[in-house]
Amino acid sequence: MDEVTYAPATGLLSWTWLLIALPAAGAAILLLTGRRSDRWGHWLGVATVGGAFALALAMFSGLSGLDNKTAATDLFTFISVGELDIQASLLLDPLSGVFTLLITGVGFLIHVYAVGYMAEDDDRRKFFAYFNLFVAAMLILVLGGNYFMTFIGWEGVGLASYLLIAFWQAKPSAATAGKKAFLTNRVADVGFLLAMFVMIGAVGSLDFAEVFNGAGELSDGMALALGLLLLAAACGKSGQWPFQTWLPDAMEGPTPVSALIHAATMVTAGVYLIARSNPIFNLNETAQTVVVAIGALTLLFGAIVGCAKDDIKRVLAWSTVSQIGYMFLAVGLGGGAYALGIIHLLAHGFFKAGLFLGSGSVMHAMNDQTDIRRFGGLWRVMPWTYATFAAGWVAIIGLFPFSGYFSKDPIIAAAFAREGWEGWVAGGAALLGAALTAFYMTRLFVLTFHGPKRWTDDVHPHESPAIMTGPLVLLGLGSLAAGGLMATPVAEWLVPVFGEHEEHHGHLTHMQATIATTAVVILGAALAILLFRGGTDEVPRAAAWPVRLARADLGGEAVNRGLFERPGRVAAGASVAVDARGVDGIVNGLSAAVGGTSRRLGRLQTGFVRSYALSILSGAVIVVAALMVVVIQ
């Protein structure tokens, strides 16, 4: 493998830190000024992200003019202990460049949308403070020049995610969901920490370039351990199996949060981590196979559960789980598929953000109703939302010539290209996932916007204001066109990061895979239209066990409850019992024994002088007798 080097930044590119500083300053100002900035705070939040987006565009064009397309900046020394030297360094390269554009670009649109969406909320300023905090943390995550910086961002987005999921903290379900997300992520973060310790131990540095250059000398087991630990961290942040349960619950937060954090950007951090660590994963076939297996499993898992849900945001959340499964599948396949994963990530960022904002617009119109069984016929009253949602719908199911077609089809083809039976399994799962995606998204779309109206008369649906439909239209256009426009240029743009790769065909040619995918997608969509054209029952019908299982999240919650919650409760109960009976028992028993003994001994002190005299005399007699015995002998 070629030596990885990062050229120092020059000119405008040495101002990379400003990208992070803008939203961070926004968050600081909004949080510190408090209620005083209530009137203009949201516009400041929008402006900082907008400014960061403009700056990112300028830097992106500056980056494309460079030969090696990297710009590394060392800000200051973070930690310097003995051999270990951790710099607060930033790295702008093709990979972090596209992420920066996605985060600030889509982030900007969602900020604008949130101005309208949160208009009725008293805490809108606080919301924008947290939102800016999130953007700043996410930029640290992708711009970090070593694993430590990435980790800081990684924890920062976790914090922002927690704050925003639990934004309506008066609602118990939201507060619980926030804690759940935070704790689940924390468990997975142990993987990240251990991976960093392994790097420090084996390579002696956390710097991307040094780790990647030194990775070749790692033993097989070490490389595998490193890969699996990073994968565990990635699975947690991206809601992949076995950490998927927090992501659907995260929908308790405001809808712009779901769109920005839990669809477009933060949850894709896991994909970023694996793509960034590609030299480590390339070293070990087993680690890559595990990534592929997790991706394939999760994409089916999410799609199956998505088919059974009736809450508009939860369907989209499970859809996110499933789509990120595709990205994991792609980055696990390695080689040319890394770029495919990133392209799908970018395309997904557009259409899923659009879909979420569309669902927010629907909820806005329907008095925060989220049950798709109570929608229907909305296309007449909400034309803009309808049109943009339709754009997201055709994009996600992957109809030609929309976004998903250019980003998802190549992944399916690449999965089939894997050698041996694994290719058939991964490709088959991806193909089945595509059919299920088409089914549940069509079901969602048809039940929401078509069919007879099923809402009650006291609801007066209306189109959202322009500040909300504007971003929707832009994201809708992005959903339609982004995939086709990005597929080739982004793949070429990312060559410096992932290397040059020959396209090779395995079990199916690209054309065969495309035809198969399009066929199953149309089949799935047609089936959904046929079944749900006439609306649906308002209460769930008794169903066969697969449907019941899917409604119960395929047992994900039950497993958590059985494997962690119940043993946790038992352990807590046991430790309370040990404390109360064991530890307290010893202390209390000891004091009771001492007290009892002294009470009994105290009874010897009768207060009668004559009895004392008797004891003294008996003592004296005993002593004398003992003396006599000794003397006589």
Partner: protein, 99 residues
């Protein structure tokens, strides 16, 4: 007279004193019994001094007398104080110091 007789007398006096301390309730009588025990000891000391031909025992007996004199002063004062506060000279009535 052989010294054994003195010693037997001393032991008898001491025993009478000890029994008196334990069986009598009147503190004055208890006090007199204590004096009896002390003087039984003195008698034994003087006897031993006589048998060994040294004067150590006699000196020790003087010490005992001196201590006994001091003890009588303090003891009688305590008995007076108790009697004034409790209107009783019985040792069994002064039984507050107990668990």
């Amino acid at each position: 007279m052989s010294p054994e007789h003195y010693l037997i007398l001393s032991a008898a006096l001491f025993t009478i004193g000890a029994i008196g301390v334990m069986v009598r309730r009147n503190s004055i009588v208890v006090f007199m019994c204590i004096e009896l025990m002390l003087n039984a000891g003195n008698l034994a000391l003087v006897t031993f001094s006589r048998t060994t031909g040294t004067i150590d025992g006699q000196i020790m007996a003087f010490f005992v007398m001196a201590v006994a004199a001091a003890e009588v002063v303090i003891g009688l004062a305590i008995i007076m104080a108790i009697y004034r506060s409790r209107r009783s000279a019985s040792v069994d009535d002064a039984n507050l110091l107990k668990a």
